[in-house]
C-alpha cells in the first residue's frame, strides 16, 4: 500500500470502483459544495474535485476538497499544469496532504483561451507527465523536484506528502497510435490510476484497450473508464463540433434526438456504457462525469448495479 487512501485500498482489493466528479462553484458558495457532497455521499468511492475546469475560475480544488472530505467524501484533487509552477504545485501538494487529501489527479489542463480569462498568462512550467514524476518522487524518494529532501530543517525528520497519483488518458485524441505510448509514459512517470476521457465511441475504446492490454499496461495501473450522462442530443452535438479530442458517433446523437424523454435516455445510455465497459478486459472501474449534473449520479450508480458501494475497514 502506497498511501492507504480509500481509492487505493478498494483498487488493491480488486473491487470495481466508481468515482464521480464535483465541480466547485464559481463563487464563495460553501453551501453548494456541501450540497453536492451530500448528493454524492455513499454513491462514489472517490470524487474528483476539479481545478478551475475549462479554465474558468472556481473555488480551488484543495479548498473544495477539504470541505468534501469533511462531508464524508474521499476526494481526488485535480491539479493542472496551466495555473501553477513547480513551487506552487509542491506547496499545494504539501498543503493538500496535511489537510488529509490523499489522491491527486495530474492534468495538463484546458488551455486558458477556453475560459473566462483568455488574456491570462499560462504557466506550463511542467507538463502532466513531469508533474506525475515530481509527485511520485516527493512520495517515494522523499525529495522535492530540485532534489532537496522534504524536511523543515537539516535536523528535522523527513515528512513527505504521500499521494495516490492519478492521470487522465484520452483514447480519442490523435495521433491514435501515440495514445497508448503516452499512457505508458504516464505509468513510467509514476501513475497509480487512470481515468479516461468520456467514452461515447465504444468500438474505438475497445481498440485502445486491446493495445493497452497487449502491452500489459492494465497490470501496472488501475484504469477507470470515463462515462458521461447527457441531457440532450445538443450536448453531444456541441461536444462533437467544439470539444477537441472527443469521438461521438452520429448514431448516438440520433438516438438521443429520437428519445421522448432525453434525460432518461441519457441516463440509460450512460448505464449501458458502464455495463459494457465493465466487460472490457483491463477496466478496473468507472469514472462518472456528470458535469453540473451531480444529482443524477446516485440514480446512475443504482441502475448500473453498483450500489451499495463497498465499505473500507
Amino acid at each position: 500500500m502506497k498511501v492507504g487512501s480509500r481509492l487505493e485500498i478498494l483498487l488493491r482489493q480488486g473491487k470495481f470502483v466508481a468515482t464521480a466528479e464535483l465541480g466547485p462553484p464559481k463563487s464563495a458558495d460553501l453551501e453548494l459544495i456541501k450540497k453536492k457532497a451530500s448528493i454524492l455521499r455513499g454513491y462514489a468511492d472517490a470524487v474528483n474535485i476539479t481545478d478551475n475546469q475549462t479554465a474558468i475560475v472556481r473555488v480551488s480544488s484543495i479548498a473544495a476538497g477539504k470541505i468534501a472530505l469533511d462531508e464524508g467524501l474521499e476526494p481526488i484533487i485535480q491539479m493542472t499544469c496551466r495555473d501553477k509552477n513547480r513551487l506552487a504545485m509542491q506547496g499545494d501538494v504539501l498543503g493538500a496532504y496535511i489537510l488529509g487529501l490523499k489522491n491527486l489527479l495530474c492534468l495538463s489542463g484546458d488551455h486558458q483561451s477556453f475560459g473566462n480569462h483568455p488574456q491570462a498568462k499560462n504557466v506550463y512550467d511542467l507538463d502532466s507527465i513531469q508533474l506525475v514524476n515530481m509527485v511520485r518522487d516527493m512520495r517515494d524518494k522523499k525529495v522535492f523536484e530540485c532534489g532537496e529532501e522534504i524536511k523543515n530543517t537539516k535536523k528535522s525528520e523527513i515528512l513527505e506528502p504521500r499521494m495516490f497519483i492519478g492521470v487522465a488518458a484520452n483514447p480519442f485524441g490523435d495521433p491514435f497510435e501515440f495514445r497508448v505510448v503516452r499512457l505508458a509514459k504516464k505509468i513510467k512517470a509514476g501513475a497509480d490510476f487512470v481515468q479516461t476521457q468520456c467514452i461515447f465511441d465504444l468500438p474505438k475504446f475497445k481498440r485502445y484497450m486491446e493495445m493497452v492490454t497487449d502491452q500489459g499496461l492494465h497490470e501496472k495501473v488501475s484504469i477507470l473508464a470515463g462515462v458521461m450522462p447527457v441531457k440532450s442530443f445538443r450536448v453531444l452535438q456541441y461536444m462533437k463540433n467544439n470539444v477537441a479530442g472527443m469521438s461521438i458517433p452520429d448514431e448516438l446523437i440520433r438516438r438521443m434526438k429520437a428519445a421522448e424523454d432525453p434525460k432518461a435516455e441519457g441516463v440509460k445510455i450512460c448505464v449501458e456504457f458502464i455495463q459494457q465497459v465493465r466487460e472490457i478486459p483491463g477496466i478496473h472501474g468507472v469514472h462518472i462525469m456528470a458535469v453540473e449534473w451531480e444529482a443524477i449520479v446516485p440514480s446512475i450508480v443504482q441502475q448500473a448495479g453498483l450500489y451499495p458501494r463497498p465499505d473500507v475497514q
Binding site: D110, H111, Y124, S128, A244, G245
Partner: protein, 222 residues
C-alpha cells in the same frame, strides 16, 4: 527573423500627441521582410500622420528615413545628423530597434510604431508563423526539428495532450498541433521510439524566467 505588425494608426497618433517635428525610422532588416516597418511602410506612415493632423487643422513635420539595422548602435549612429530639432522619433523597428535608438539618444523620446510578435518565418505570401521562443536550451534534436516550446500551445515536452485531434490543436481548428507534427516527422525519420522516453522537467532559467539575459564571449571581448 523577427516578425512584427504595425499598430493601429489611432494608437500611433495618440503617441504623437502634441509633437510636431517627427522622425519616422524604418529598418531594412526583418521588419522590411515582414512588410511592417521598411522604407515603404515608413513613407506611408509619415504621409498618414501628416494627413491625419492636416485634417485636424494642424501642420506637423514628419520626415522618414530607413537604416540598415536598428538593432546595432553602429547603424543607429547614422541617425544623428537628422535628429536635430526633432521632438519625437517613431521607430518602425522591432522592440530591439526602439530600445537601441532610445539607448543611443537618451535625450529623445522614442516610441514604437510596431508590435513585435515573434521569431518566425514567412509561411506563404502574407502569412508569418512562429518557430522559436528563444528559451535558451534547444531541444530540436529530440523532436525531429519541430519546436514543442513554440508550436505546442502549452509548451508540453512529452507528447500531445488530449486536445489534439485530426492534427489540430484544441485552441483552434486553424492551429496545427505541434506534437502531431513532431509525431509525423519522427515517424518519417523512423525515430518514433524516442517519444517513449520521458523528457525531464525543463530548466526555464535559460529562458526569460531567469531574468534579462546576456551572452558573453570572453574570447571575443576587447
Amino acid at each position: 527573423m523577427i516578425v512584427a505588425e504595425q499598430k493601429e494608426i489611432s494608437e500611433i497618433i495618440n503617441m504623437v500627441g502634441d509633437h510636431n517635428n517627427i522622425l519616422v525610422v524604418g529598418c531594412d532588416t526583418c521588419v522590411t521582410v515582414c512588410l511592417a516597418g521598411g522604407a515603404k511602410e515608413a513613407a506611408i506612415l509619415s504621409s498618414a500622420l501628416r494627413l491625419a493632423y492636416r485634417v485636424k487643422g494642424k501642420e506637423i513635420t514628419v520626415e522618414a528615413t530607413t537604416i540598415e539595422r536598428q538593432c546595432e548602435i553602429e547603424f543607429v549612429d547614422a541617425l544623428e545628423p537628422i535628429l536635430k530639432r526633432k521632438d519625437l522619433v517613431i521607430s518602425m523597428g522591432c522592440g530591439i530597434g526602439v530600445q537601441t535608438i532610445a539607448e543611443r539618444f537618451p535625450q529623445l523620446l522614442v516610441v514604437p510604431a510596431l508590435n513585435t510578435k515573434f521569431l518566425g518565418l514567412p509561411e506563404k505570401q502574407g502569412v508569418w508563423v512562429e518557430r522559436c521562443q528563444a528559451c535558451g536550451q534547444c531541444v530540436l534534436d529530440k523532436t525531429g526539428g519541430i519546436c514543442p516550446i513554440s508550436r505546442c500551445s502549452k509548451s508540453l515536452l512529452n507528447g500531445p495532450c488530449g486536445g489534439s485531434q485530426n492534427g489540430k490543436c484544441e485552441i483552434s481548428k486553424d492551429t496545427d498541433c505541434g506534437w502531431h507534427l513532431i509525431y509525423e516527422r519522427l515517424k518519417t525519420l523512423g525515430r518514433l521510439e524516442s517519444l517513449e522516453e520521458i523528457m525531464p522537467v525543463k530548466n526555464w532559467s535559460t529562458s526569460r524566467d531567469g531574468g534579462p539575459r546576456k551572452v558573453i564571449r570572453e574570447d571575443m571581448c576587447l
